[in-house]
Every structure is written in C-alpha cells, then in structure tokens.
Symmetry: D2
Subunit: 291 residues, 4 copies
C-alpha cells in the first residue's frame, strides 16, 4: 500500500521499518528530520510537511501526546487539505476528550478515522509483537487491518466508536501502574520483616502473578534498577491523569487512580521523573523510612 | 510418617486425603466431628482432643484464623503437653503478631515450629497443587518437607524466621485484592465509555495480565457472578486487615491496603460479605452510579 | 472613582451595589443584559462591550471561572484595547495557570494587575463583609484598595506575585471541602452508634470547631438540607480540581484533595451536583449503607 | 462526696486537685506512687490497690488506654470486689469494643457505669475548663454530675448507652487529625507558590477557620515547633486507629481516617512519634520534597 506515517520516535521508527520490510511504500514525516533520514536508508520517503504524509491509501500516526497531535494534525490545517476518502489510524495514547474531537473533525472532513493505540514498548514494536486495540467504522478498519497485521501480534477490535480504543489503552496503563504500586507496597511490607523484595516477587510472579506486567516491573523493583527508562515515570503520571480525566468526564471516581497520581507526583518531587515508572515503588519505601 | 492434623475445613480435609493416599498415618482432630468421620473412611484416625493429634513425627495444622489457632493450640494447653522434639507446621493464614508469639511459645517448649501458609483454594489442595511458603529452622523444615512434597506443587522457603512466611502470605493476598480493585475501577471506567467489562478484561488478561489471579477474578468480574464464594469477602477484609496490622507493627504505611480495607467495608455494608471477594469490584461501580 | 465592573452574577451585582452606594461611578458589563439593567436603576452605567468597561481609573472583574475569564478578557482582545496605566483587579476564583498567564499578559500591555479573590458568599458580599485576599504590585494595589475597603470587612495582602492570592483562595476552599468530608465521616461513624449527626456536631462546633466553616456546613449536614445551594457541589469539584492542578504544577501531592475529588465525583454520579457542596457528606453515609 | 480516683497522669492529677479544692474527699491510686504522694500534700488519700479506690459514693478513672483500663479494672478483679450501687465514671479515651465490654461487666455486677471522656489538654484540666461528654443511665449520671461540674466548663450528655460518649470522643479526635492534615496539605501547596504557612494560616484561622483546633495546631504548623508535645503523635495514631476500629465494627468506611492513619505511620517511621501530633503536617511537606 501507499501510506504515510507521522511521528518517528522509538515506537514509530520501529513500526515504519516493519512496514517497509513488508513491502509497503511509506512517506514519513517527523518534527525533527533525523529520524526520517535514518528510515530513508531503509526505503522510506521523507516529506517536508505533515500534509505530504497525510494522503495515499492510509496514514498512520504515532505522536507523543495530546499536545503533539493537536499541533501537528489540528492546528496546522492538515485535515482540511487531506483527500476525502483517506483513512487515518491514530496509534498514540491520547485523552478521550481529544479522541472524541478527532473523531468529529475527521468525520466532518469525510476522512476515515481509526483509533489504534498499542500495548508494547519499542522492542515489541521492532519485533512486530504489539497488541493493537482498535475502534472505528468497519470499512475504515478493514482498510488498515493489513498494516496492523504487519505491526502487531494481534489486533483487538472494541467497536465503532474510536474513543473506546483509547479508554482501553488508558485502562491498561492504569492497571500497570496499579500493579507497580501493589508490588511497591508489598515488597516494603515484606522487607520490614526481613523478606527481600526479590524473594517475595520470585514467589508471586511465578505463581498467582505470572504475567508480563508483573515479571517485567517486578524485576526492576527486585533489582532496584530504574534506569534507563523503558517508559518514563513522568509519562506514567500523564497517562494516569488521562485516565482520571476520562473518569471525570463520566463521573467515575477512581480512588486507586488518585493514589497513583499522588505517588507519581511524590516521585517527581523527589527527582525520579525521568526514571522508569516502576520507580513508583520507591515511594512506598520512602513512606516507611526505608528509602 | 506418623502425623497429626488439626483443622479439617475444606482445605484441611483435602490435604489429609492426599497425605493418606501417600501412605502416611494421620491422626485427625476437628472442632466438629463430622469432617473427621468422613476422613476415617479414607483411613484417618479421628482423635478426641487436639492434644491427641499433637504428637508423633510431626503435626500439621490448618485452622481458620487467629482466634481458632489461639483457642485450640494456646488456650487449651496443647503445647504444654506435647512431646519435646515434635515438629509443628502451621499452615494457616494468621497475623504476624500471633506468628511471633507461636514461634516463641514453641521454642520455649522445645517444639520445632514451621510456618507454612499456602496459596491455593480447595480445588488446588485436592489436586496437590498448592504453593507452600515455608519458614523455620532447617532441621524442623527438613522433617516436614516430605509432607509438603505430597501436598503442593512447590515449596518456597523464605528463611528461618517463621513470621516471614506469614508476611509473604499476607503480601500475596494483599496483591490479589489490589488486582481486584484495579480491575473493578478499570472496568467501571471502560463501561462508562461503552466497553463491556468482558471485552476489556479479555484483552488485558490475555496480554499484560495473563496470570491466574487476573484470569480467575477477571472472569468473575466479567460475568458478574460472585456466588458461590471461593474465598469470602469478609475473609478478604480480615487478611487485608492483617496486612495493615503487620505494616503498623513496623511503621509501614500501606495506602493501597487502606483503600482496599475501606472498599471491603463498603461491600459488607451493602450485604456482600458472604460473596466471593472479587465482589469488591462492585464498589467501584456503585461509586460511579453504575451499581 | 470612575471604574468598570465586569461580571454581574450574584456576587458581582451585590458588590456593584455597594460601590455605587459609596459614591463611585461604575460602568457595568455582563454577558447577559438583565443584571446590568437592574443595576442601572441604582445608578450604574451599562455598556455594550467588555472593552467599554475596561477603562477609567480601575476595573474590577468577577467572572465565573477560567472559561469565562478567557472568553471575555483574553479572546476578545480587551487587553489590547485597554488604556495603558489602567489597573485591573480580578476577583474571580481561577486556576494558577490562568493567573500566571493573566499577570504576564497585563504586564506586556502595561496594565496593572491585581488578583483579589474573596471569601464570602452573596449575603456577605451584600453586607460588604467579604474577606479579600490580594496580591500584585504595590502601586496597583494602592489604586484599588479604596474599592476593597468598600467591598470587604478586611483585605489580606499576600505579596506582589498575583498567583499567590489565587493559591490562597484555592487552599481555603480545599480546607472547607476537607472540613465537610471530616464532618461527613464523623457523623456517619457516630450515627452507626446511635449518636445523631446534630448531637455530635452541636458538641464539636461549639467547642474545638467553633468556626464559621464548621457551623454553617455543619448545620446543613445536621439538618440534611442541601438545597437551595449556597455554593454548588459541581463548583466545589471544580475548585478542588484547581487545587490539585496547582499542586501538580509544583509536584505537590494532595492526597486529601484526591479523596475530596473522588467524593465529589461520586456525588455527581448520584445526582447531587446541583446541591450545596455540603452534600459531599452524603457520600460517607452511602459508603456505610446509611444512604 | 467520698470518692475514688484511679489514674494520676497529667490529666488525672489536675482533675483531682480541682476535686479536692471543691471540698471532696478523694482516695487516689496510681500505678506508680509518686503522683499519689504529690496529691497527698493537697489532701488526697493515697491507697495501695485500685480496689481501695473503687468504693465510696463514686469513683472516677482516667487511665491511659485500653491496655491500662483492662489491666487495672478488669484483670485484677476490681469490679468483683466493688460494693454494689457504686457509680464509676470512666473518663479515658478507649475503644468502643472495650466500652461495650465495660458497660456489660459493670451491669452484671450492679455497678453504675458512666462513660465520660473529655476534650481538653492538661492546662484545660487544671483550669477546670474541660468539655465532658457523658453517656449512661440517668441515675448514675446524676450521681457524678456534681463532680463533672467541678471539672469542666460544660457537660454534654449524649444518651444512656455509654459507648456513645466514647464514639463522640473518637469522632472529635478524628476531626482534629483531619484538620491538621488539611492544614498540612494546604500550607505545602501554598508554600510551593511562595506563600508562607504563617501567612496562609493567619488568613484562614482568623476567618472561616477561627476555631480553637485550627488556631492551636495552626500555630504549631506555622512555627514548625512540635516539641514539647501537648499530645503525642503516637497517641494520635492510636485514637485514629480506635476510630477506624469503631467504623469496622459497624461496617463504616472512613477513607479520611485511613489517610490519617497512613500519615501517622509515615511520621513514626520518620522519627516523629514523640512529637506533637500536629507534626503530621510534616508528612505533606515531605511528600512534596519540601521536607
């Protein structure tokens, strides 16, 4: 297919590489030009403006956050100049408010819109092992599904309202943060009685909690190594805030989400914002004077 | 081996059956006689008083809670009449305060003491698939290890201080309750945007959270079926309280534990104390007016 | 003095009436014209556009929230057309982010800017009994102080950075909400043991808590009458959110603020958003099954 | 009257002095003899055993906590040897569970029982300015009312079930702790924007929060002086725990109480257990990295 791709961070670059490998023709745009140049060596076609990427059979975007999405896709008039009939799959983790606005703005312009946030970090993106949660009109989804088949191990469709995919993504990240907090408190309690964090987590993450989220973050907590960050704590705060805002939009209290937000702020106040978000576990230790 | 077994609830009865099957001679005692009679058919020897079970090569106990342990083993003078050199493995989920007291009382009488709480419900006990967390002196542990090999899929030793095994058990149950709360809030949030609890949990419990704790409790939350109870919510409150008390004993704040305690109380106030503790998820829905 | 006044809600109208009574000449503007007409009978001069009010010796504004302030004062270009040397006292409860932006935008235009949020409801405004918290440059403050002397029982200056006055106002409202929550939980606990909310609060609000915030909201809780609203619960949520956002801007966790936010959302989910914010106390009762 | 008084700490000693001054004959007992000797100089009659104080027209007790009450009044058989018809007014802050047990034990022995916890610290006790909350049978109350008139500025009767008075006391202390937390968070937020704690609290405690609880603890927070302790933080934790236990006994969740408990544990983990409980405010600062 002839596609555009906007946003070439660690995730986006790995995804474009896989799309090229699968034989797709990919025009790429990024705010800074370096990432595009690196992909040109693999066959991508760098373009100067997001408008130039926003055409062809479909366009995928993987921008950092609400601000970037708004700046690149809404404020610059990209949608207004896009060819009718195009399908855009937005794979970024964004707020439900922006997701709703995007869905309406695309519909008004006759552009197909699919929300397709992913679970998986850059190594999973490189290995084409992402889990992709999708929502949007059936025909728009059908158009981009072959691309998702290239990028992920599985696609999880959740209906035709794009915002649903975003709320699933936020719910998942909320649950990861909750798991980190739970491990942080449990290891702090156990340590107070002489049980090493590693010993506690070895038992639990090989039995009841034998799942990727617990094994991966558990290893960081057991070793106390939170750098380099796989996912920065400051971004974890952002995603939990987005979950809380989504809750507020429908009058859904999330007290565990509030607790996580307070913990992330405590982390940032203590200089841990650039560490991996598993460093949230340090807050529990600090509260107990173990820090 | 010639052993005693005290406490024949659903868990204890299943464990005794396995011990008998493995060829051990088992004297059994229970507060009410029925359970002992049922096991007599399988070869167990019912005895009239806990004192009579508290002898031989080793004795295992699986009593309901602190109150039962105190009533049966401490208040009645069982320890005082036990033969020196006996090893007692206490497999109940009890407070760290009582665990500490039991360790001291046994030591004072020259009786080996092992704490050996388990992860697993009655079906896992029947299938000899328990995970057994153990702590105690090496020689005492060695004595009862052959029995644990019969009862569980794996033994997880955590050192010589018995209280450590109890704190691991409490930490694990705390983490299960935290997972339930996280799923309760996440499904409530998602439902407010049209995503069915089942759809959200299918994605998450097959990817990041593909672990027994999430799959099992997630299924209950997805189906909304909390009866019959595998583990009663009122007992979940008890275990979280024990974790909080353990924390208080070492000045370890557990704000997530506090949130869980408040949630369980809310559940009980709304008549859900006899349901499975996964019914904690209903609190999140009620807060959002979805109840 | 020759002044303008923008925003004629219950608070603003009462304040303008006092300024007129004190002999000031007041041009008034409101989004809807009715309120202005009513004040015209008392000597105010209604004007058609906010620009027309934004001149003379000084201008006071009392708009509803960030959105209104932004719409009326920033988006419409009012500042750009204002005479240099004018002093503007913004008496609304707004976010610290907007407070900061306003301070910068006024400075860039050479307009004096004073933040002057108030404690007190419409009856206090009518009785000229407001407590006015002020911050801004000394000369700007000096200009509008005579007006504050008319409007309030006392002015509380907190320095030259306008945002300080706003953060004091948000802190105060946060503390009121905290007092409501504390009374809500305490009365629910006491009621569970047969002590009527009124009996508990009579003791406490006449001894340790003999303060206006406790007496006023305590009376509502004791009587269970939350309508008509003196201050709507939905606005209480807004102000607590502003406090939390202010905290987030400086990495200050406010767990009590989070608890209040969750409680207000619970209230709104149960249809209490238009009641007085003292109705937050109903959440505590509902949690305990007393609702 | 001919009365006994048990428990001669700072509170009890000051109260006995007032009773003596008013002309009553007072037999006094304390666990350690020194305090009794000091009061002997003022006319009190020290006795060797609590049994000896537990007679006459009435006996008042002011013991430290549940443990002391249980040890002195229940375990030693004092009730069993008391003359039928005696009235005992228990002025200590105790759990509702013990309050209930005491009521039953007294009733079984035909001894009148009044719960009469107080609000006020030692200086208030010395000045006979206590606020005394009372509950019990009318005739028993009538017997000891003249003594309360000597000791306090006012008596607040709350019914005939003694436990009610205790729950009022626990509710009051819970509300004080909540006020400290609210001030701790508010001053931390304000300080992050350049407003000194003293400046914020001066405004609020002279307006909306012009009440003894806020003024007294606010002064400690403003000055940062938490020693010597008027009421030790470790005792504050105990009282909040008693409130939480009272809540648990009736399935009443108290999330603000939970937050306070976690905060007190954090304080103790950081070495502040012996400081005044207003030092809870330091936790909010520590969370924000201001500590």
């Amino acid at each position: 297919m002839d596609i555009g791709f906007i946003g070439l961070g660690n995730m986006g670059s790995a995804m474009v590489a896989n799309l090229l490998k699968a034989g797709h023709r990919v025009r790429v745009w990024n705010r800074t030009a370096e990432a595009a140049r690196a992909l040109a060596d693999k066959g991508a076609v760098p373009v100067d403006r997001p408008h130039d990427a926003f055409g062809g059979d479909a366009v995928l975007s993987m921008l950092a956050d609400d601000r970037a999405v708004r700046a690149v896709l809404l404020d610059g008039g990209v949608l207004e100049q896009a060819p009718a009939g195009l399908v855009h799959a937005n794979m970024a983790t964004i707020s439900v408010a922006l997701a709703q606005e995007l869905a309406e703005r695309h519909a008004a312009r006759g552009i197909g819109y699919v929300a397709a946030p992913v679970f998986g970090r850059p190594p999973a993106a490189a290995a084409a092992q992402l889990n992709i949660v999708t929502a949007g009109a059936a025909d728009a989804l059908a158009r981009v599904q072959p691309l998702f088949d290239v990028l992920g191990q599985r696609t999880w469709p959740v209906g035709d309202d794009p915002v649903r995919a975003n709320v699933v993504k936020l719910s998942g990240n909320f649950m990861i943060a909750a798991a980190i907090e739970a491990m942080g408190e449990a290891t702090t309690l156990a340590a107070a009685y002489g049980v090493e964090p590693r010993d506690l987590l070895e038992i639990l993450t090989n039995t009841l909690f034998a799942a990727p989220a617990y094994k991966g973050y558990g290893e960081q907590i057991a070793s106390g190594r939170y750098e380099p960050a796989g996912f920065k704590l400051a971004l974890g705060l952002k995603d939990v805030r987005l979950a809380l805002e989504a809750g507020e939009g429908r009058s859904v209290p999330l007290p565990l989400g509030s607790l996580l937000r307070d913990g992330f702020l405590d982390s940032i106040a203590h200089g841990d914002g650039e560490k991996d978000w598993a460093a949230l576990a340090l807050v529990a230790r600090r509260r107990a004077g173990q820090g």
